[in-house]
Amino acid sequence: MTANQWLQLIVYFGALLLITKPLGLYLYRVLETDAKTFLDRIFKPLENLTYRLLRIDPHKEQNWKQYSISMLVFSAVGLVFTYAILRLQAYLPLNPQHFPNLSPDLAWNTAMSFVTNTNWQSYGGESTLSYFSQMVGLVFHNFLSAATGIAIAAALVRGIARNSAHTIGSFYVDITRVTYYLLLPLAIVFAVFLVSQGVIDNFNAYTTAYPLDQSAATTQTLPGGPAASQVAIKMIGTNGGGFFNANSADPYENPTPLSNFFEMLSILAISSGLTYYLGKMVKNQWHGWAVWAAMFILCISGFFIAFHYEQAGNPIHQGLGVATQDGNMEGKEVRFGIFNSSLFADVTTDASEGAVNSMHDSFTPIGGLVPLTNIELGEIVFGGVGAGLYGMIVYIVLAVFIAGLMIGRTPEYLGKKIEAYDVKVSMLSILILTFSILGFTAWAIVSPWGLAGLNNGGPHGFSEVLYAFSSAVGNNGSAFAGLTTDTPWYNTTLAVAMFFGRFLMIIPILALAGSLAQKKLIPQSSGSFPVTGPTFTLLLIGVILLVGALTFVPALVLGPVVEQFLMHQGTLF
């Protein structure tokens, strides 16, 4: 790495570290219903009005079952709402390009994709969706699926922090407050910033441009649209669904190095702040930092691996006279280069973001293994907003249980005994992840419908299918784009995978929250399991790798690892 790249890396993680505490403190104020924020003057009336309109008593808390039902009902309504808009977009306003209605399977896939915070896109934004569909149908979920994730994380953290409690908060209050006080203001500020960098934001019909060099092409269509406002929440809420097909590689979405830097920072911002929120809630700030450290180490390790293999490039290029010192530039924007493409790819898959500024499909096999592994770990390395933290807490519970016995006591996490029920629901969420990813991949890879989408053969084709289902189950949304997924089979199965990966994960996690909440808080002593310090951080990383990653080893070997070895023998796919 060059000095400049080191500097960028340090500035990036330095900035992430710096915003963690202020964001965490702010999150604490947003998520504690009675706390005051500096935005109360603007949003309090709006918040109260929302409660009145929806007939919600903001002081009435819910137990985990009520919380789950509210979340499911709310998501189901959102799903139908977006499905309807997509199926009817031809009759709706703000459709200057007169795009037709979406097919049922594509509309179902897209609606499920956004309601689950996945933002898997079987469509190209500028060639399929009207401005109305994007601004209303999709952005609704960009805000509220993100708010749902944060709400679930808050509910779980409350479960840990509370003593003998029956409730874990109110779902409607949580999503309302997160949307008004956190996501909306951040999105507005970020959108204005993006516009300052040159991201477009208009309602114009597409422009037909005539290139100066008439010999190259006759005309070019330049798309328009309210991109900046959509891109802002796409990044902050770890949604990742690009306004345009090329996502953050598109100059209209990500025009400058500065916009690229802040887009990368915004992916991890809230999730990083949530670790501080965890520490504050459980009154053990060093625990929050120990979790942050585990996330940081996994995050930067992934980057180094990806960067190393991308920089090393493809040995076959050497024989073709391509400048090898540039590394593997296939599928990357020259503006971003190896460094910023590798970092973006690592960060976007650590989180459940899924926005891309380079084509992961074109990475070297091991370079591509990094984003794939990041997703398969459950996106707990900072992770999606809220989803990262609650996924991480599941691993913490398991780490505490496995290693906690070794100190000679019934395992205890922050004064809460980890018992059979807690182990059961924690393992259930990991089981669902493994079962969904491997099950769908295995089905796809031997079924004619699955094989029909393959454009590449061999291990690379396998990696593409594995990536697609990992991304769907992990609610990431990025893709190894060599796979054609806009087919009824893929649209349907991927949507089911997204549903499993989101809701079947959340319910055990809320059950865990409910179970932990009602337990007595045992006072800490020197005999309690230590959840701070380097030993804990390393233990957590160990458990994530042993329990999380080991299950995917055979599949990863059959895909990227075999491909890397074959590449060195001169075989490409």
Binding site: L398, F401, I402, A403, G404, L405, M406, I407, G408, R409, T410, P411, G415, E419, A420, D422, V423, K424, M427, L428, I430, L431, T434, L438, T441, A442, W443, I445, V446, G458, P459, F462, K520, L521, I522, P523, S525, S526, G527, S528, F529, P530, T535, L538, L539, G542, L546, V547, L550, T551, V553, P554, A555, V557, L558, V561, V562, F565, L566, Q569
Partner: protein, 673 residues
């Protein structure tokens, strides 16, 4: 019982039947209780069928099938060993109760001779000197000395009498003198000994809460790896590689946590067993587990923290009295005093060069015994009249002459938690003897270790707060409960439990029963009343309250052993992947050969080595499972670091070495090509 403590680990008497049991336990209906080993057994059955179906070399499939069966049998053997050791102890207990007869009172109050098995709760029997007490009961009339060595291993007889806290008798013990009327309190088969025996044998063993949680974790991991393996088959088809069923089953068994799955129940049985070796009977495995979780230890002062009696620690002569002269007077005043306090004064005086004299050496000496009126004891010689007693009594005796310095000394000693005894010769006050509670050896250090482990120690005493504070400070306990009545004890337990803490205590009297029942770990003394024994969840046969500390250690050890083997088992998977995955793929993708980092000889030798390692490690870890991970009193963070290093990092490294060595061995023996 005393013989059981020195049991060797692999005693042939136990190993023999255990091998037989290991095969009997293959019964799938029984195996279902242990999902990990059940899956392994199914795997073994499938590979056995594959011997006739698969295209792999027969010798390879046969060996895989054999080793998978061995894996199950080794796990069964571990369990059978643990049970066998329990049975051996149970048999020792049973020997003490063969062919007993009882003299039962009939309604007409005359006696009849019946077999002990015919006795029912409520029957009243007469036990005379030389007879064995036919069942658990309560003395309702009389007093007798009883030899309880059959249960406690302690040869000194104990007194059992009606009323009070020493009325309980245990079946199988022998009356040495006198005769007692005993009301039987347990039906045959339900007596204390019977329950002990069945617990020790593991017959009535129920899974403890942590064991259930761990079983869920292990089952879930097993299901996850089943999914992984089932998905692998179609993935292979895509690549044109048809993975053999034998190899897939081998990989599955290697990945699921067979090591801990195979040893889990043995660890639990061995935990109860280790307590028995310490002469403590736990009423359930749950109680042993709770012992490991204890946050607060309630310890009775007398007998637990201090030796039963006070001892003379210092002589403080009155002004103008020579030290040797005073020591001499102190000894003379105590010569006839046979109480432990009196003996200790005589012993202390020897330090001042005063030889112990016998009463018969001094013909003109008259012994003045302690009387309730004077509250003094002493010795009259020809001229001297030595008296020893509390300050107030001596003041009366000396008719008011009482030096100010002596008064101050008396005050100081009282404030320090000691007992001052003043010695006078007629009207002359000679000095003060400092009687002190003696803290049992090694306790101060032990309490310090407990503090580091986060366990709070509370001393319970009937002393006044001043005295209690002084002793508590000297013993190094964290806090104390002075002037404690039984209901105070109960209140303290409830208070600690309300804060979420687990409390352990010992007790023997009937008035301890509520507190024993309330405590999470209640260790009743075997000398205690039946009520106390029923209320507690453990009984200490040696009636040594200090043993509570060891009980906590055994509980912790059991949990640590489970955690350590679980970590080890999961960490092992890394090396097994490196052995088997390259072996599976190298035929289809020769390029992956470098993944074979252990340089294993061939695909067949690699898979077989991993399977053999997986089986053998169970046998190698049986001693650890039965003896338990070594207990160290360290703070949790230090224990965690240490055990993570040994069982986590070690668990990753060891199988790499083990599999490589097995590979070298089986190749050199030409077991595989």
């Amino acid at each position: 019982m005393a013989t059981a403590a020195a049991q060797k680990l692999f005693e042939p008497k136990i190993v023999g039947p255990a091998i037989g049991d290991a095969f009997l336990k293959l019964n799938p209906i029984k195996m279902v209780r242990n999902p990990v080993m059940f899956v392994t057994e199914v795997g073994a059955a499938i590979t056995t069928a594959e011997i006739f179906l698969s295209n792999e070399p027969k010798s390879f499939t046969v060996q895989i099938a054999l080793w998978l069966w061995f894996t199950v049998i080794f796990a069964n053997f571990a369990e059978a060993m643990a049970e066998g050791r329990g049975k051996a102890q149970a048999d020792a207990l049973r020997r003490s109760r063969t062919q007993l007869f009882a003299m039962r009172y009939r309604e007409s109050s005359n006696l009849e001779r019946v077999a002990a098995e015919q006795l029912r709760k409520g029957d009243v029997v007469l036990v005379v000197a030389g007879a064995i007490i036919p069942g658990d009961g309560e003395v309702i009339e009389g007093a007798a000395t009883v030899d309880e060595s059959a249960i406690t291993g302690e040869s000194a007889p104990v007194i059992r009498e009606s009323g009070g806290d020493r009325s309980a008798v245990t079946g199988g013990t022998k009356v040495l003198s006198d005769q007692i009327k005993v009301r039987i309190t347990a039906n045959p088969g339900e007596s204390f000994l019977d329950r002990m025996i069945s617990l020790v044998e593991g017959a009535k063993r129920q899974k403890t809460p942590n064991e259930i949680a761990l079983t869920i974790l292990l089952s879930a991991l097993t299901i996850i790896f089943l999914v992984v393996i089932m998905a692998l088959y179609p993935m292979g088809i895509y690549d044109g590689a048809i993975f053999s069923i034998t190899v897939l089953v081998a990989l599955l068994v290697c990945l699921i946590p067979t090591t801990i799955g195979g040893l889990l129940s043995a660890i639990g049985i061995a935990g109860i067993d280790r307590l028995v070796q310490k002469n403590v009977i736990a009423m359930s495995g749950r109680a042993v587990e709770a012992a490991g979780d204890v946050d607060v230890l309630l310890l009775d002062k007398t007998g637990t923290i201090t030796l039963g009696n006070r001892q003379a620690a210092e002589f403080i002569p009155a002004p103008g009295v020579d030290m040797v002269e005073f020591a001499d007077a102190a000894q003379l005043s105590s010569l006839a005093d046979e109480t432990p306090e009196g003996r200790s004064i005589v012993v202390l005086a020897k330090n001042y060069g005063i030889r112990e004299r016998q009463l018969h050496e001094m013909p003109d000496a008259t012994f003045i015994p302690f009387s309730v009126q004077t509250r003094m004891s002493g010795l009259d010689l020809k001229k001297e009249q030595y008296r020893k007693g509390a300050a107030e009594s001596i003041r009366k005796w000396t008719k008011g002459t009482f030096p100010k310095e002596v008064e101050e000394t008396v005050d100081q000693i009282s404030r320090a938690g000691g007992t001052p005894l003043v010695v006078a010769d007629q009207d002359d006050v000679l000095g003060t003897i400092y009687l002190k509670d003696i803290i049992k050896g090694g306790l101060v250090e032990r309490f310090k270790l407990f503090r580091e482990m986060g366990i709070k120690t509370v001393m319970i005493t009937g002393d006044n707060p001043l005295t209690a504070a002084a002793i508590a400070k000297e013993a190094g306990v964290d806090s104390f409960l002075a002037e404690a009545k039984p209901e105070d004890k109960l209140a303290l337990i409830r208070k600690e439990q309300a804060e979420g803490k687990l409390v352990a205590m010992t007790g023997d009297g009937t008035n301890d029963a509520p507190a024993l029942a309330q405590a999470d770990v209640g260790v009743a003394m075997n000398t205690g009343t039946q009520a106390a024994k029923e209320a507690g969840n453990m009984v200490d046969l040696d009636s040594n309250p200090t043993k509570l500390i060891e009980v906590v250690e055994v509980g912790k050890q059991m949990l640590m052993t489970r955690g350590a083997l679980t970590t080890f088992s999961i960490a092992n998977d890394v090396a097994k992947y490196f052995a088997i995955i390259p072996a599976m793929l190298v035929a289809t993708f020769p390029a992956v050969a470098p993944l074979n980092v252990m340089q294993l000889h061939s695909s067949y030798s690699a898979v077989l080595s991993a399977v053999i390692f997986n089986a053998i490690i169970i046998i190698l870890l049986i001693p650890l499972a039965l003896r338990g991970v070594k207990f160290r009193a360290l703070p949790a963070s230090a224990i965690l670091r240490r055990n993570l290093l040994i069982y986590g990092v070690g668990g990753i490294i060891v199988p790499f070495i083990g599999i490589k060595l097995i590979d070298l061995l089986i190749v050199s023996l030409h077991f595989v090509s």
